[in-house]
């Protein structure tokens, strides 16, 4: 067994890399990297083996960091990550996603950038901010952030993005034009019927092998779409709460997904009853199973943020969660049992996993 898993962890105090072995039960920690920067997302570019980290520094502004040697050395750039001198000022990078030879960056205030040189220079994809709804975009608690980028692996011109308190958008022309994709999603925080946009998407994920099946953890429930986001069906029933941040999907089974419900938007936003659990569906959200073996049994007032759940593509799939209080847990059996991988990291914003060496 020559392959091994590598966990890429973004924290409020830089990025960390955890080197695992083929069993995914032994890990060693390296870092921090990107010091001085709050790192919101660390991702792996399978096209060239680079690690990309997006974030921002209160002193030095936004940046995408890049390592071509699995973290040994790093460079940083924000060349082109700007809305121009007329502003608004771009403050942080929230998501970095590689797809089809390009790299995309979602930023605050919400917008989308593309790099065609591995993250060294960036071009603003102006179509998203040119959407007619943009003057009415309002920030959520985390800011006006483009936090999720979901590429269609079958079509490089097709992707979805998620913007907090604004919703899901879809483009089929490489980002030139965008369509809101929020029909069927509740907006309990707005009186009257749900509008066309203003939905608070927390995380979006594309089902394996089905480019028309999406899952969404929203501020107001968990949803599934069978038509590429055109309409959404709520699948919250069976979960202890409609509130959470991340959602992860299985690498091979389009019907399997994981969420980490918190006690509620207005209740402190930690594990219900301080007894953390990941919940898994095997039937597209028709039913959910509580998975907590190995997680703290009680008195654990922890939460997992939107980018801080990852799923690897090994057999069985591994699932990983990082908490906003610095604990990192992993499961090598699709969530059945959990172990603590690290317990004293800085507040974790993101977890990604890459399997290398195969």
């Amino acid at each position: 067994m020559s392959h091994r898993a590598v966990l890429l962890v973004g924290t409020r105090k830089g990025a960390f890399i955890l080197d695992g072995d083929g069993t995914r039960r032994t890990w060693s920690i390296r870092g921090p990297y990107c010091e001085g920067f709050s790192i919101h997302d660390v991702s792996f570019d399978h096209s060239d083996g680079a690690i990309l980290a997006g974030g921002g520094s209160p002193w030095f502004g936004p940046a995408v960091w890049r390592s071509a040697d699995l973290g040994a050395t790093w460079t940083h750039s924000s060349a082109g990550l700007t809305y121009g001198d007329a502003g608004p000022d771009l403050t942080r990078v929230w998501n970095v996603t590689a797809a089809a030879g390009a790299v995309y960056a979602g930023v605050e205030p919400a917008g989308l950038f593309r790099s065609d040189d591995g993250g060294r220079t960036w071009t603003h994809l102006q179509g998203l901010r040119a959407h007619p709804s943009r003057p009415d975009w309002q920030p959520g608690n985390g800011g006006l952030i483009c936090h999720t980028i979901v590429p269609d692996p079958a079509d490089p011109a097709h992707l979805w993005v998620g913007i907090s308190s604004v919703g899901v958008f879809e483009t089929v022309d490489g980002g030139a034009t965008w369509t809101t994709r929020n029909r069927g999603v509740r907006t309990d925080f707005i009186p009257g019927p749900a509008p066309d946009f203003g939905q608070c998407v927390h995380k979006l994920a594309l089902a394996a092998g089905e480019p028309s099946t999406l899952y969404q953890q929203n501020h107001c429930g968990v949803y599934r779409s069978a038509d590429a986001g055109a309409t959404w069906t709520e699948i919250t029933a069976g979960l202890p709460s409609d509130f959470g941040f991340p959602i992860g999907v299985h690498p091979r089974d389009p019907g399997t997904a994981w969420v980490m419900p918190l006690n509620g938007a207005d209740k402190g936003r930690f594990a219900p009853d301080a007894k953390p659990a990941v919940w898994r569906t095997r039937d597209r959200g028709e039913s959910w199973t509580r998975l907590d073996r190995g997680l703290p049994p009680r008195d654990a007032y922890i939460s997992v943020l939107r980018e801080a759940m990852a799923v690897d593509d090994l057999e069985p799939a591994g699932v990983y969660i990082g908490t906003s209080t610095g604990q990192l847990y992993g499961s090598a059996d699709e969530g059945e049992t959990w172990t603590a991988i690290a317990e004293n990291l800085p507040p974790i914003a993101s977890v990604e996993v890459a399997v290398i060496g195969r």
Partner: protein, 88 residues
């Protein structure tokens, strides 16, 4: 030539750049442009949209807080220092 001193935090971001750099410049704006030629990308770390000096970056010319248009004279000493910030 003006004498520019960079903070350790900046040096950490741009390995190999000397702490003290002599530049030909008549304003802070020109100092930062000269720094960017010596350390490509450093202007993005120091300037925000506008452009203006980032909120938590302080530039001093001969000991006085400066803006982009502050004159720099031959023999001036320019410090580029991140502002103090509290918390953990």
């Amino acid at each position: 030539m003006a004498d520019v001193l960079l903070s350790r935090a900046l040096l950490a971001l741009f390995p190999g750049v000397p702490r003290r750099i002599a530049v030909e410049a008549s304003s802070v704006r020109e100092v930062i442009a000269a720094l960017d030629r010596a350390a490509p990308g450093i202007s993005d770390r120091l300037l925000r949209a506008g452009p203006s000096i980032r909120e938590h970056i302080n530039v001093f010319v001969d000991g006085d807080v400066a803006g982009l248009d502050t004159p720099v004279n031959p023999g001036s000493t320019v410090h580029v220092i991140p502002a103090v910030s509290g918390g953990a």
